[in-house]
Symmetry: C2
Subunit: 141 residues, 2 copies
DNA sequence: GATAATAGGAGTGATATACTCTTATTGAAT
DNA sequence: ATTCAATAAGAGTATATCACTCCTATTATC
């Protein structure tokens, strides 16, 4: 199972393009050459907009532009606003699913992992990601 | 989104009961009082069996028993055999979904997180989890 | 006012999740 | 040997989630 969904992936690509522009960029331009369906990307951009990460402008020459510097946007921010919060287990968000929440020893350990995963995702900023050299030493292959 | 699925959760509960028994335990007993549908748990136990984590015996007084000590089973082992491997992004497991895999700067960072998440899950053994005091200092609330 | 863009919400097809059901097979007790 | 208690394997199913699309505003420029 993939932890990061396509929506989030698409959002990162769009934010990357926005980081390289200084004016408003339309969704169709953002989608261009990215294998992203434009009208789907529009829905994703709306979420980023509501979260205040980007700013929108309607009408001709409208589109989106960054509202926050890439260095101040973390991977966790994008994940949470686009696909919703990540939790280790369902019981963290819906306690009713399990009635042994309060004394569950597994839960204690998962809570620790949860904190750490979020912290790691929050350490990575888009500024850092965008400035990285394109797979220099073949790191991710 | 929850990273750990119910199947895995159910598996951990069953393994916990097995750790407290020294003979074969039937699926119906394993499911007892755990809010787990017995015939669903049976399917999960079959996967643990195929992975060699437990041993099965058919016939009367049959059931399952541990085949590996709880200290030698990690949370990662359970996750991977029950719900399949965890990956940060789809492109780690199906490169065709994205043709910029080779030069993607996001992927490099995700690969690092991936390694770390797996390492953390592999650090937690069932032995450790089971021996933990039931929510001593209210850690997970 | 026409045109070019986004906003919001409802709708859809495919896949995955969380199960159930049916038909073997195996093993212990009688 | 027969019966009965258990698992094995695989097909089947309902619901939810994912990955989108469509339609009807609204807003801003020319």
């Amino acid at each position: 199972m993939a932890i990061i969904k396509r929506e989030t992936d698409y959002a990162v690509r769009a934010l990357r393009k926005l980081a390289g522009a200084d004016d408003f960029v339309s969704v169709s331009v953002l989608a261009e050459g990215e294998d992203v369906p434009a009208i789907f990307l529009r829905k994703i951009m709306q979420r980023l907009n509501r979260a205040g990460m980007v700013q929108s402008r309607q009408g001709p020459f409208g589109g989106y532009r960054l509202n926050v510097a890439p260095e101040d946007i973390t991977l966790l921010d994008v994940v949470e606003t686009v696909q919703g919060p990540l939790v280790m287990n369902e019981c963290f968000v819906e306690p009713e699913v399990c009635r042994r929440t309060e004394f569950c020893p597994v839960r204690v350990r998962l809570a620790e992992l949860q904190v750490e995963l979020n912290a790691r995702l929050a350490e990575v900023t888009l500024g850092e990601v965008f400035s990285a050299e394109p797979a220099g030493e073949g790191a991710a292959r």
